[in-house]
Amino acid sequence: MCRHTQTSPTLRSGLAADLASRRSAETRRLVLSQRRLPGPLPPGLARWFPALEVLDVSGTGLAALGSELLSLPRLHTLLAKNNRLGGPGSLPKGLAEAPLLGRSLRVLNLSGNRFAELPAALLGLRGLQSLSLGSNRLHSIPPEIQELRSLEFLYLGGNFITSIPPELASLPSLSYLVLCDNKIQSVPPQLAQLHSLRSLSLHNNLLTYLPREILNLVHLEELSLRGNPLVVRFVRDLTYNPPSLQELAGRTIKSRNVSYTPGDLPGNLLRYLHLASNCPNPKCGGVYFDSCVRQIKFVDFCGKYRLPLMHYLCSPECSSPCSSASQSSTSQSESDSEDEAIVAAHRMQKVLLG
């Protein structure tokens, strides 16, 4: 329970009296923003405004929302941006378990506060559709984010996030993902599983390339990448570690379709075989496990922008024929890119780049 020793009982009772006098069984929206709230939401709020659906306490200096919030039976939108939330106890304990609020809450805006990590109290809000934590102090996104099954809109711009957990890709309804103004160095290829993604904001990060799987996001219409140190020139192969015996055996089993049953192999090898990835080179039918060549190829999106996409190829022989040629882009590498470009153009009709 937060203490506000510097606020007088008079101030708090003044606010309570003011709100009590405005009590109404019909009021659905209550906007308290831009006035100083001396402490957490006063007890009685749920009694005075039982029909409350939207509560705006933005810019009120709140350091804790208080447990009265849990008693609001119909609240679906809570706006609490530009406050002093972020310390322990900012959000009431049992938020997600609150019998009514836990299910009714759909929109939560906590932008412009001081959260150093995504509050665990939020993770059980299975009905939450829109979450904003822009301009906070987040350094990471917890993998448990995948528990917010209803999430469609996730705004995390303006933090200090360095990486994206692949679990984010498990959110089935995510259509708007904002990660701009962070410190992200790479995008996990699993993000391509976000089939509903319509808008992806990655500008002002530390990306040098994107995973080629990004082409699979067929519904993506907006993609912002400005302010990233994206490579613009053809980059030669990076390091290549020769495959282990286990890898070679695994490749042979997969590419020759050697049949096996679960009883034939120890569990760890079964799981290993399951992780085979197909070589994206259309002229090669091979697979790879851990050992692969990373090569950056450029893809034109709709004939507009050349984006560096990271390709994983199963061996150096699989890489673009011109990789052994001179450094500058030759016509051959351009034609490889053009094949990719035609595929990309079909799949991403309206990708917009900024």
Partner: protein
Amino acid sequence: MEHTQMWKAQTLEELVQILHHLFAGDKVNVAEVQALMDSYDSNPLEWMQYAKFDQYRYTRNLVDQGNGKFNLMILCWGEGHGSSIHDHTDSHCFMKVLQGNLKETLFEWPNKKGIGEMMKKSERVLRENQCAYINDSIGLHRVENTSHTECAVSLHLYSPPFETCSTFDQRTGHKQKVRMTFYSQFGERTPCATAVLQENN
């Protein structure tokens, strides 16, 4: 020497009326128009009917067609929304912030071959009621709402009106022509019928 009259628009409606007067002839006195736009003190009650936001990108909402001489529109920028680098198809462009803040970054035109990183000339943040002016001879610009907590609203005047412009890739200078569409016109939502490539954001 043109006489630059100082106008004061008390309301948005008055602003539109005076604009019709200023654009009645063939010549545009840029200083006069800019002073007029500056003079209007933004009053949300007067423009909120045009301010329709989209969660995914900024919107263009037509307010007045200026008897064919100009387009006056309101742009609504959600948190983090920004435009591409673009030109203004040989037209005058006035931009006034009605709410929030907008960052304007000016760029030089890329060289003819369109290769190489584009050169940033300058950047500034336009605050509420400030008005900026640009045309193709000045350069290109990108406009963004860099706030992660506040929306922004701006009033734009383009003369002559134009429907297409070029957008530019900052890293290469590569340009592409795009057709612009309106999210709403005169306060009514006007969805796009076709999947036409929209202006970059």
